[in-house]
């Protein structure tokens, strides 16, 4: 399987994804799943600017991503599938019928209503439930911002309160 990472990151495409993960894992493609971005041309154009020329990028809605999931997984290019929020990833996992087995929490940042867990993970009560729902589908959920750090299991993330 050439999808290296299913990642939730509210910054979507940025340096940690493109350089931090992209260089050590030789990432060749990013699939961004976000209904709003897929429908907005100026946002797509902006995000495209963050992707190096040697990487390709696709913007899909959740429905389109699920319809194309087999093709995405079968593609030989090393890929990161990105969502900007927990709910989108939950829908993706729920519709994947077991084809997604691991999810990485890469960054969910400070915003009103969110409480700190790790220094790069802040969660609302709904997001906590969403992550547990993903895990209850048999998916391994861990938080890890960059490859050199150790992954933190979801139970530890939810139990932490310090940023």
């Amino acid at each position: 399987m050439a999808v290296e990472l299913f990642r939730i990151d509210d910054r979507l495409i940025h340096g940690q994804v493109v350089v931090g993960w992209g260089q050590p894992l030789d990432i060749q493609r990013i699939v961004m799943v976000d209904d709003a971005v897929a429908a907005s041309e100026w946002e797509r154009e902006l995000y495209r600017m963050g992707v190096p020329e040697e990487m390709s990028v696709e913007f899909l809605t959740v429905d389109a991503a699920l319809a194309a999931l087999d093709a995405i997984l079968a593609d030989a290019r090393r890929t990161i599938v990105l969502t900007g929020d927990v709910e989108t990833m939950r829908r993706l996992v729920a519709g994947s019928a077991g084809r997604i087995t691991t999810v990485n929490i890469g960054g969910l940042h400070h915003r009103s209503g969110r409480a700190p867990c790790l220094r790069y993970v802040y969660l609302t009560p709904e997001e906590r439930e969403g992550l547990q729902a993903i895990e209850s589908l048999g998916v391994t959920v861990t938080a890890q911002d960059v490859p050199v750090c150790d992954p933190v299991p979801l139970s530890d993330v939810l139990a932490s309160t310090g940023a």
Binding site: Q16, G20, Q23, R119, Y120, D145, V146, C149, A163
Partner: protein, 229 residues
């Protein structure tokens, strides 16, 4: 008492250069090739400072400040390394090894200290939240100044404390160093050059053709070495 007074200029320099690392002005005077050299200048031994600065810079090539990942802070570390290395005669065995050791340890400690530092700023922001949400200029400017001041103090204290801690340790170690001077130096160079070379490889290996440029450069450098004996 005298030891404390001696350390003050280095603490101030470490504060200024540590501040450069993240807060202001990010001119990369916090890179070890600069910070260690400036510490050497303070000691009256600029060449010594530059020498250890280059050794540390090899290592620093690996630690590029991406996003929120943790990284060593080189401003204070270079000052500590440069001051220690410049404090002993050239011929003393082990100076480079223990100075690089002390600098790397300082870099790690200083990198750690950035975390509580950032939490303090966040706490300050939380306590001024209503003013910030009301769009108060005073609150925004105040938070900037608070962060800048705190960062300077953090780096200055860390450089000073680290120098006070390591100077006696280094002195004891060097009084009876087990490895001959040239071999000890070569060992350190092998370690830092290995880290630097692998870091360069990490950055360039994804670029088409870059491996050939690296090999070509190495041959050119090796050749220059051979003919400039």
């Amino acid at each position: 008492m005298e030891a404390f007074i001696d350390v003050i200029p280095f603490a101030l320099l470490g504060g200024l250069l540590g501040l450069d690392f993240v807060s202001f002005p990010q001119a990369m005077i916090s890179r070890p090739i600069v910070s260690a050299t400036l510490a050497g200048v303070l000691m009256g031994e600029p060449v010594h400072g530059l020498t250890i600065g280059v050794a540390l810079e090899f290592v620093a090539i690996e630690t590029l400040p991406f996003g929120a990942s943790r990284y060593p802070e080189w401003g204070s570390a270079g000052v500590v390394g440069g001051a220690l290395f410049s404090g002993w005669p050239d011929t003393t065995a082990g100076t480079l090894a223990v100075s690089v050791f002390a600098a790397l340890a300082t870099a790690m400690l200083s990198g750690w200290s950035l975390q509580p530092h950032r939490r303090l700023i966040a706490r300050r922001a939380a306590s001024r939240k209503s003013a910030l949400l009301a769009g108060s200029l005073g609150a925004v400017t105040g938070l900037q100044l608070y962060g800048l001041t705190l960062d300077f103090l953090r780096a200055a204290l860390l450089s000073g404390a680290s120098l006070l801690l390591f100077r006696p340790i280094v002195s004891v170690l060097l009084s009876d160093w087990p490895v001959a001077a040239p071999l000890s130096r070569a060992g350190v160079v092998a370690i830092v050059a290995a880290v630097g070379a692998s870091a360069v490889w990490k950055v360039i290996h994804g670029t088409k053709g870059a491996a050939w440029y690296l090999a070509g450069g190495f041959l050119l450098g090796g050749g220059t070495l051979w003919f400039t004996r």
